[in-house]
């Protein structure tokens, strides 16, 4: 261990059977080309633990020439005490669709990072980018030159399109109703300009999930959620249903009673589904994988507006297009996305996400602007009608 600082409080977090971030930072203090970074990171964190105060600042002017994103400025507010982390910028690298890497690719990323940074990474941030923790301003240009010469590019940050992300889709999941990875890659390529050059009122995230199990949490974390679904009926194999029952599954309690729209019944050993009432939530399919499968007419549901609770409260995405065929080259999806962004960009205040703007202005002008007709599936809350504002004359009867 480096031993520059005594860290009794952090050392407590090395105890126990699990991997410890403290141990990893201590290792970085030995292996990185800039060991003072990880050392001072430990020193400052120990101080934070004892004083219960944070000593980080972020923001400002930091990045590579021509790009407006991809680097998040991070500074210690105690640079004299911890000079190794006076600059401790975060670098985001655009991850491949579905987070697929070869071991060689990861070694390459890490070797370059050891050369120019602290050697610390938490691998993937919540947006999806490959996140590298801690480098200096003067190292940014050479670091970027080396990554980009090897086929890597920076991800999004600031008031820009954020790096789109997706689940593993058809690459290793039987439930993928859309090619999530191809859609993610296509959208990433199509919106390169918006990703690297921040021109929006605030961040805009796209996430693609192959089905409603939603492994990338698109419905909770993306301004534009693309979630695979199907239009026709769930495929049922009644012989396999019987096998589940024979194996002890309580189909009534675990499947039928858990259906959020109560569209299922289980009589005489057979499952029956009223598909017109099915919300395509995937609960039954994911519980009875051998007996139930998504329908054959596949596509995506497009939802808009979710966000974490920065600025105002958190929101979940809202269905805008119940079903869209998602087939290459995805022109319909690209056009719709561009219209959504244009309306938001024209109307939003600084730091206003699209979900907040729709809440402020109403769904009607939004739907009119993007050319999508009102549909029952868009109604978010059954006891509110968000599309009609009643006039006085409506109450005279």
């Amino acid at each position: 261990m480096s031993g520059k600082y005594k860290t009794p409080l952090l050392d407590e977090l090395e105890k126990g059977p699990w991997p410890s971030f403290v141990t990893e930072i201590k290792k970085a203090a030995q292996s990185s080309s800039m060991p003072q970074m990880a050392d001072d990171e430990l020193g400052q964190l120990e101080k934070s633990y004892s004083t219960r105060l944070g000593y980080w600042k972020h923001g400002g002017i930091v990045g590579v020439l021509g790009y407006g994103g991809g680097v998040i400025g991070r500074y210690s507010s105690l640079p004299d005490e911890f000079p190794g982390i006076a600059h401790f910028h975060t670098v985001r690298l655009n991850q491949p669709s579905g987070f697929f890497y070869t071991a060689e690719a990861l070694r390459m990323v890490c070797d370059i990072w050891d050369k120019y940074g602290s050697g610390l990474t938490n691998l993937h941030g919540s947006t999806g980018d490959l996140v590298l923790l801690g480098t200096t301003t003067e190292n940014l240009e050479p670091l970027f030159a080396e990554y980009s010469s090897r086929g890597w590019d920076l991800g999004g940050s600031g008031s820009a399109m954020r790096t789109p992300s997706c689940c593993v889709g058809m690459a290793r999941c039987e439930w993928a109703n859309i090619d999530a990875m191809d859609i993610c890659n296509t959208m990433t390529q199509h919106f390169q300009d918006e990703l690297h050059r921040p021109a929006f009122p605030y961040k805009f995230k796209i996430k693609v999930s192959g089905c409603a199990c939603d492994c990338v949490a698109a419905i909770a974390r993306a301004d534009l959620s693309i979630i695979g679904t199907w239009k026709d009926n769930i495929q049922i194999d009644q012989a396999e249903v019987k096998k589940y029952a024979d194996a002890g599954m309580d189909i009534q309690a675990e499947i039928v009673d858990m259906c959020p729209t109560s569209c299922m019944s289980y009589d005489n050993g057979e499952i029956k589904i009223n598909d017109a009432q099915c919300a395509r939530c995937m609960h039954c399919i994911s519980k009875m994988t051998k007996a139930l499968k998504p329908g054959k007419e596949k596509g995506a549901t497009i939802l808009v507006g979710s966000k974490a609770p920065i600025v105002v409260g958190s929101l979940l995405s809202w269905v805008i297009v119940p079903f869209i065929e998602c087939k290459p080259p995805y022109d319909e999806l690209k056009d719709l996305t561009e219209k959504i962004i244009e309306w938001w960009d024209d109307n939003a205040k600084p730091r206003e996400r699209i979900g907040e703007l729709i809440e402020a202005k109403g769904m009607r002008p939004f739907l009119e602007a993007i050319g999508v007709p009102p549909q029952p599936q868009q109604v978010k809350e059954p006891r509110k009608d968000p599309f009609f504002f009643w006039a006085e004359s409506d109450f005279k009867k």
Binding site: L65, G69, G73, T137, P201, Y202, I310, V311
Partner: protein, 81 residues
């Protein structure tokens, strides 16, 4: 209008607004497009060309990104002066 002339208008506007309002890229494009009658895409290209060579730069503060005239420190850091 030649790109250089549009860039002159952009820089003039940026100087006027310095210290008064944080401008995002779209604000500048809309304003210069309205003033000059040039297409937004033409203004956007002119603006991007300025950012690429460090005549203007992206900045970030208060949670939002903006475009600014670069400081001497930034130009030195990027080896532009």
């Amino acid at each position: 209008m030649e790109q250089e002339e549009i860039q002159g208008k952009i820089f003039e506007y940026m100087q006027q607004m310095k210290g008064k309002k944080k401008l995002k890229e779209k604000d500048i494009i809309k304003k210069i497009s309205a003033d000059t009658g040039e297409e937004k895409d033409t203004v956007k290209k002119a603006l991007r060309a300025m950012i690429d060579v460090g005549k203007l730069m992206y900045s970030y503060g208060g949670g939002a990104s903006s475009v600014e005239i670069p400081s001497e420190e930034y130009l030195k850091e990027k080896g532009l002066i």
